[in-house]
């Protein structure tokens, strides 16, 4: 911003110019949107502390339903599911964070080393495709492979003389399937983020390294990786900040909401949705409240850590 004359600065503070009026007019629609779709729900959080009934008007319901304090939370944490859900949510997220960083970084470095640029573009485009598919479509894709009587996997098992597996009833396979699908969907996207950083590295570093006789492995180890480190740390911290949130589509759509898979595929988001749909509002709103608050705390702490490492990359 260019320096403004002192006089103008002082005037700005006191008078409401025509310009400010017009800009406010321009901002009103989006501000209303924010109030309706972001801020009203923040106050709606109060229903976690109430015995809420679904029928009738929303506001009168919120006002009239009896205050129960932390009863809903007690129910939530006393249920047997609480432990499974916390384990699933955090456990999958830890695996996703690790695989979501190691593999894309590895592939981004590898694809940068390919001799043929055209081939590398083609691979990138092909690997980007799953990112653009919705979970409903992916669940249809999954069905084509995992269906018990018609699925391709069971036909293959039959061909090699193996008994067919009822995939949607066997919880032991699903942690692997879910992790693989998550990698499959996100690999192209992750790779491109790191590749963008690699392509932005000043080529004179490599030039100097080559003159000093560094091999391509030494260049990767001493130039590419150290310069990627900052982005890697940022991506790591940002994903840690989302550790209480999971991809609802992955856990709900792809598993086709199969009851046999409850123990391995129920995360906080799935629980909240199911409780909401089965009208167990108390527990659902308590779970959603815990998720929001813990989410807020982790995001703020992640941001605080980012600020320590690199002040420019912090959100706030």
């Amino acid at each position: 911003m260019s320096a403004k004359p002192e006089q103008l600065k002082r005037r700005k503070r006191f008078t409401w110019r025509k310009q400010d009026f017009e800009l406010t007019l321009l901002a009103i629609p989006t501000t209303i949107w924010y109030i309706l779709f972001c801020y009203l729900p923040m106050f709606g959080i109060i229903i976690a502390f109430k015995q809420f009934k679904i029928s009738g008007g929303f506001i009168s319901n919120v006002v009239n339903s009896p205050w129960v304090g932390f009863k809903n939370f007690e129910f939530l944490f006393k249920s047997n599911d609480a432990w499974i859900i916390i384990r699933n949510t955090i456990g999958y997220n830890i695996i996703f964070i690790i695989t979501g960083i190691v593999l894309p970084v590895l592939f981004a470095i590898m694809i940068g080393l390919l001799h043929n640029r055209k081939a590398s573009k083609v691979y990138q485009t092909m690997m980007f495709l799953p990112y653009f598919l919705s979970w409903v479509v992916i669940s249809a894709v999954g069905w084509a492979f995992f269906s018990f009587d018609k699925g391709i996997l069971n036909q293959f098992l039959g061909n090699i003389g193996h008994d067919p597996v009822n995939w949607y009833m066997q919880p032991e396979y699903w942690p692997y399937i879910l992790v693989l699908l998550n990698i499959w969907k996100g690999i192209g996207y992750g790779m491109i983020i790191y590749l963008a950083t690699i392509t932005a590295i000043d080529s004179s570093y490599y030039e100097a390294a080559v003159i000093d006789g560094a091999s391509i492995w030494q260049q990767t180890r001493f130039i590419t990786l150290p310069l990627l480190k900052l982005v890697i740390v940022m991506m790591f911290i940002l994903s840690v900040g989302r550790i209480f949130y999971t991809d609802f589509g992955l856990f709900f759509q792809v598993t086709r909401d199969s009851n046999s898979l409850y123990n391995v595929a129920t995360t906080v988001d799935v629980l909240v949705y199911k409780q909401l749909k089965s009208a167990t509002i108390g527990m659902a709103s308590a779970a959603a409240f815990v998720q929001s608050v813990l989410g807020c705390i982790t995001i703020l702490s992640a941001n605080w850590i980012v600020k320590k490492i690199d002040p420019d990359s912090a959100m706030i």
Partner: protein
């Protein structure tokens, strides 16, 4: 330019041996195929004769080629066509509305001398950190705002994302010279006019980025339908496929039977291939469009990474 460094830098000093290069190429070929082949499988199932699927099962290559599913969709699938219409309309209206709401807010908070700048920046920023959660959002949208079973339930909740607003703000602060706006002000244009006839036309890169993000997220959305839509006439393609995944007869039950009883229709209809044909109907536009827009996405990701 970043890409130039890439080509002249890494390329020039790219000294991996031939063997390693072949190994890497093989690895990428396998992964790239693993990303694409499942979609091709869905396509080939949609093109397979229903009786073959019933007897043998799904296959990677269309073993018994037939357009049965697609001709069923064209002839019988009023519901599919309506869902296609809903999806298209939601995508178009949502994208236009979303772009307008996002860019106008981005522009306003990018004006350094605007009085409410910091207040509005906080309005945008707070939801990035804290949200009301699914339950209270659901009740606000469904009960208070009356969006249950309404077309707007598919559009409004997804229209603005703070992340996109920040991308716009960053773009406006970093690329639009103050002089352009000042000279327009001197010529007597008001801010609204400046925004629509000067700022938007010269901001095509960011409009394309945000527009594409919104476009793909509207087209791919199924969650809003699952939450708010019970009326089958308002199903989007995603909601319809979602329904078909749990119940393949859903289509026949809701389709207008042209002279045939619905029981007859259920018996006749190519359930398995029709299900995959709907999936293809969803995938096809996305798969055709994204390679052309890939660079906008990449630039969008990089713009997002730069803090304003």
């Amino acid at each position: 330019m970043a890409t130039k460094t890439y080509e002249s830098g890494l390329d020039k000093f790219n000294r991996t041996s031939k063997g390693i290069n072949i190994l890497f190429n093989t690895i990428f070929l396998v992964i790239a195929l693993a990303c694409v082949v499942p979609v091709i499988v869905v396509l080939s199932i949609s093109l397979t004769n229903e009786s073959y699927i019933r007897d043998v099962g799904y296959s990677i290559f269309p073993a018994d080629f037939s357009f049965e599913a697609y001709s069923f969709i064209a002839k019988q699938g009023t519901m599919i066509l309506r869902a296609l219409g809903t999806s298209t309309l939601v995508t178009v209206v949502g994208t236009v509305l979303g772009v307008l709401l996002t860019t106008s807010m981005g522009y306003v908070i990018s004006r350094p001398s605007y009085k409410l700048k910091s207040f509005l920046t906080w309005i945008v920023f707070i939801p990035m950190v804290f949200n009301g959660g699914l339950v209270s959002s659901y009740f606000i949208n469904a009960n208070l705002l009356g969006l249950k079973d309404s077309f707007w339930a598919l559009i409004l909740p997804l229209a603005v994302s703070s992340f996109n607003v920040i991308i716009c703000k960053t773009f406006f602060t970093s690329t639009i010279p103050d002089g352009v706006i000042e000279s327009a002000e001197i010529d007597g244009a008001n801010q609204i006019r400046i925004f629509f006839s000067i700022i938007l036309p010269i901001s095509l890169p960011v409009l394309a980025t945000i527009g594409l993000f919104l476009c793909f997220s509207y087209w791919n959305d199924w969650f809003q339908s699952m939450l708010y839509i019970d009326n089958p006439n308002l199903y989007s393609l995603q909601a319809l496929l979602n329904n078909l995944m749990t119940n393949a007869d859903a289509l026949a039950r809701n389709a207008q039977s042209m002279g045939v009883s619905s029981a007859e229709l259920i018996a006749k209809m190519p359930k398995e291939s029709a299900r995959m044909a709907v999936a293809i109907l969803i995938i096809l536009p996305v798969a055709c469009a994204y390679p052309f827009f890939q660079r906008y996405f990449i630039s969008g990701l990089t713009v997002g990474a730069v803090k304003g």
